[in-house]
């Protein structure tokens, strides 16, 4: 199934979502330095990196929670830089929220329905004066939310309260809420955290199914999921992009092996001091290799 997606990618090379030269510093600490990336239409881009590489900062920049000190964000040819987080929903950018952010006192179905507000009509006086029409819209909303819930295999839980459900199901509810607005770009932050291997496989298949309908940017610590799901991967280390390319390309990249896999496998017990020193050294050693898209 990934072959199909690759073909689609090659046909359509325009960028849907792009970050260019993004710098973020917190006090004196540089969280991101010159980070550029592109999410092509209907493609899945994975962002990986060891802990502390700047993945969360990058996600927060994409969502508008963190304003970059330098660099720009573009979405469908429009500059996003400076937009506030709540403005993204109206632009067709969906996302899951940290801590899931579900409404505890509303049913699963209602939680998902709130996410569909992008398509709901604005202007409350018209809504107030036209309750029957509101009723029709509400039915359409309900049906769409139910469709997304069954797509994610959790329609059985529609009437339950989120607090009564196990964590993996709640994660799906959060995902359903992000999907119900039919976004053109979906931003996913660590979707695999807290999931078992089986659940992760299901999640992978699910995300794979989304490509073709929308662009996905997946910020994820879990290597296997990213490798199996993404068309393109960007590897971060110490706030810089140290590699990018397809899964196989990235897997073989020496800088990635040194920084990420070295860190993860961590068998160099004979030379512990080399581990942390490798990262920045490798980063500095590959600037030309790293920057084919940014230029």
């Amino acid at each position: 199934m990934s072959e199909q997606a690759v073909t689609a990618t090659q046909q359509d090379t325009t960028s849907a979502f792009a970050m260019t030269g993004v710098d973020v510093a917190f006090g004196g600490i540089k969280a991101l330095t010159g980070v550029s990336l592109d999410v092509a239409p209907r493609q899945v881009l994975g962002v990986i990196g060891p802990n502390g590489a700047g993945k969360t900062t990058l996600f927060n920049v994409a969502c508008g929670f963190v304003q970059p000190d330098a660099g720009t964000l573009h979405w469908q040819g429009r500059e996003l830089t400076g937009l506030r987080p709540h403005q993204l929903a109206g632009l067709g950018i969906g996302r899951t929220l940290q801590g899931l952010g579900l409404f505890d006192r509303m049913s699963v179905l209602e939680n998902v329905m709130v996410g569909a507000d992008r398509h709901a009509r604005s202007g409350f006086l018209s809504a107030l004066l036209a309750l029957p029409r509101s009723g029709t819209e509400e039915r359409a909303l309900r049906e769409r939310a139910l469709a997304v819930l069954s797509e994610l295999g959790i329609a059985d839980h529609a009437a339950r309260l989120p607090t009564s459900l196990p964590y993996p199901v709640r994660k799906r509810v959060a995902l359903a809420r992000a999907l119900v607005s039919e976004p053109d770009l979906l931003l996913l932050d660590e979707p695999a955290s807290g999931l078992s291997n089986d659940e992760m496989d299901e999640l992978g298949a699910l995300i794979r199914g989304l490509a073709g309908r929308m662009s996905v940017m997946l910020v994820e610590h879990h290597m296997d999921l990213v490798m199996s799901v993404c068309d393109d991967i960007v590897v971060l280390d110490f706030g810089r992009v140290i590699a990018r390319g397809g899964p196989e390309e990235v897997r073989r990249d020496p800088a990635v092996l040194a920084a990420y896999l070295g860190d993860e496998v961590g068998h160099h017990e004979d030379a512990p001091a080399d581990g942390p020193a490798d990262g920045p050294a490798a980063t500095a050693g590959h600037p030309g290799h790293n920057d084919p898209v940014g230029g």
């Binding site: 505890d104 996410g115 709901a120 409350f124 107030l128 509101s134 509400e138 809420r177 607005s181």
Partner: protein, 292 residues
């Protein structure tokens, strides 16, 4: 038997009004964590609006409708002009503001409408029904009061439970930040919430005034009873507010009928203290904790 029935029916009618007023307080509290003390004078001023319309020769019903619309507009204006500027700051700022508004509206009403007592008409009879030997204390206006509050409550339930707009309003009330991130226009939902609350408050004001006397502070005791009713129900729960209002209305009616009418306000405050001491989360709370 006669006195018991009278007391219970009077309490039920009054309880409906307290329930409406408590509902108005709860609608605002649960979405903004503000106790709107200005609710009473806001309801008072819209009742005066009705009086002006009726005095100008229009029917009671036109005055009634104009007052409700005035309440809707006043609520929206208060939220946009007075409350919005302190949004995101400490809630106490907004509460102090509503207290200030309380005084300002009082003064304005006295200046514009005068501070003497004026009688307010009622659309239905104020005499009880006779069933056999029993004089039922329920009046035509009492029945109207109960029906009017029930209708408004049913409409609110329909709005919150059956429409997407109500869904967005609930989402904004439960977690404004998440709702905003999902694209809900939270600011509009808050304005609408205040407008609806003020409408319900205005209804309570009109029902208290019907067949009785109005003056600039005629609603002031009702804000106390409404607040007690809301606390009884747990402040967060519209259904709790309604039950709390009915319980309080009936309880106070029995205090008035069997103990002494001068003790009614005292009894309300004793109930408030007992609830806050024993069940601070309200009578229906599962646990004595509330997330703020």
């Amino acid at each position: 038997m006669q006195q018991f029935l009278t007391t219970a029916l009077t309490g039920l009618t009054l309880g409906m009004v307290y329930a409406a007023f408590a509902l108005a307080l709860v609608l605002i509290w649960r979405s903004t964590r503000i106790v709107n003390f200005a609710q009473a004078p806001m309801a008072m001023i819209t009742t005066y609006v009705a009086l002006v319309v009726i005095d100008a020769g229009y029917s009671y019903w036109i005055g009634f409708a104009v007052a409700l619309v005035a309440g809707l507009v006043l609520g929206a204006v208060v939220e946009r002009v007075v409350v919005r500027p302190v949004e995101g700051k400490s809630e106490i700022n907004a509460v102090i503001l509503t207290l200030g508004l309380f005084i300002v509206i009082h003064a304005l009403a006295a200046v514009i409408f005068g501070s003497r007592y004026r009688s307010f008409p009622a659309p239905f009879g104020l005499r009880g029904f006779q069933v056999g030997d029993l004089n039922l204390a329920i009046t035509g206006f009492g029945i109207f009061t109960i029906v009017a509050v029930l209708v408004v409550m049913a409409l609110l339930v329909a709005l919150f439970r059956l429409t997407d707009l109500g869904l967005m309003m609930r989402a904004s009330a439960f977690n404004a930040e998440v709702a905003r991130l999902l694209g809900v226009k939270v600011g509009r939902m808050l304005t609408l919430g205040w407008a609806l609350a003020a409408l319900v408050g205005s209804l309570a004001g009109l029902l208290i005034a019907g067949g009785s006397l109005v003056h600039p502070s005629y609603m002031d005791s009702v804000v106390v009873y409404g607040f007690v009713a809301a606390v009884l129900g747990g402040l967060d729960s519209p259904a709790g507010a309604v039950v709390g209002g009915l319980l309080l209305g009936v309880s106070l009616s029995f205090v008035s009928g069997y103990v002494g009418s001068e003790l009614v306000a005292l009894a309300a405050l004793v109930i408030l203290m007992l609830v806050l001491l024993l069940r601070p989360g309200g009578l229906f709370s599962h646990a004595a904790e509330r997330r703020v």
